[in-house]
Symmetry: C2
Subunit: 197 residues, 2 copies
DNA sequence: AATTTACGGTACTTAAAAGTTTCGTAAATC
DNA sequence: GATTTACGAAACTTTTAAGTACCGTAAATT
């Protein structure tokens, strides 16, 4: 066994609590102001930290916000496992709109908006949020393949059909994201993917 | 008959050609730079116009870009009418991704991004583009209701299921918008909305 | 104790872009 | 021909925010 020696550096160690405060503040400001309007001054002030401290540990504003997003969504929205395809999908969509209509929804909007002007933010949003959620959901659905789920169904397409309409409403805002709506969406999609006995 | 007298004002009349140049330039700059990075200086220079002329006729930058969008998309994407529900949907989605993967796609991205930080841009995008297209498509589909289209299908939901996945891919960028993809999407959706004989 | 690195606070530099103003000139009406 | 309104060009004002630099101080190692 190799000892996990911290190998502490020489001077004063990094203030981990300040790091936590900065990331939490970044998330709040992002939520309230959007990506472009989330200023480092506002983040520093809310965190009771110095702007110099922020730039001491992150190369730029986007890096702070990306790390804040990563920490915030790390454990969010695990795909359910009720044993029923229909129940799993209903639950997953209901849980997702709870996120989208809450604080997190504003954060997602902010990131998608920023992604249109910055390829790095775009890639970060996909790798931190989109891909992990899709991978998890696909694994959850794969269990039903050939059983209640028709074996030919393309799960990539299915992800788009389930999540696409929700992002669409979130970002375009032409209609609200209600439970009634996602239930109807789930039923419409299920009609074309379930294996009839 | 009342004469349509132009009721010309006193001084030099507005240069309609300059107006055209400005709107065309605005569209090009928007396409290349996005909404926030589309500067009035760049628009003026490309239009060989003066910035003062722009602000003489539009209250701000957003108003110019909204009018440019309105003119650009006025006649775009009419819903097909082949007599076949299946053909109409396939055609409509194929035509739509032609727009999204071309110059117009960049413009839509820019508007959706800007909409997240500006309610007026958001409303403008919906009223200029989203609502007219949805209304037209719903009218086109309504003709099939009770025939090849199951009579219970909610067209609002259907719009979201058809267009949502495309906006989703456009804005998140996790996968490309190909004809093969929209054909598969169309077939998946059709499976749940067609009336079986 | 000397040294090293981090901290919060604050002032500063720099850059970019929105919108305004001015100026000399062009095209219309009266 | 006098007046009115529009034009392009360019200089200008103003605002905003990113990122840097410096201060005195705090917490660690040597």
């Amino acid at each position: 066994m190799i000892e996990d020696v911290p190998l502490r550096a020489r001077g004063r160690p990094r203030d981990e609590e300040a790091k936590t405060r900065i990331l939490a503040a970044a998330l709040e400001v992002l939520e309230e102001q959007g990506f472009a309007n989330a200023t480092t001054d506002a983040i520093a002030e809310r965190a009771s930290a110095s702007k110099a401290t922020i730039y001491r540990w992150w190369p730029n504003k986007a890096a702070v916000l990306v790390e804040a997003l990563r920490e915030a969504v790390a454990q969010e929205l695990p795909f359910p496992n009720t044993g029923s395809l229909r129940e799993d999908i209903h639950l997953q969509l209901r849980n997702f709109i709870k996120l989208l209509t809450g604080r997190r929804g504003r954060i997602f909007k902010a990131f998608v908006a920023a992604a249109q002007n910055d390829p790095e933010v775009s890639e970060a949003f996909r790798s931190v949020w989109v891909r992990p959620r899709r991978t998890d959901a696909k694994a959850g659905l794969e269990r039903y393949r050939g059983l209640s789920l028709r074996h030919e169904v393309d799960l990539e397409l299915l992800m788009d059909v389930l999540y696409g309409p929700l992002y669409y409403r979130l970002l375009v805002g032409h209609a609200p994201l209600t439970q009634k709506y996602v239930d109807a969406l789930a039923e419409l999609v299920l009609r074309s993917i379930v294996k009839k006995p």
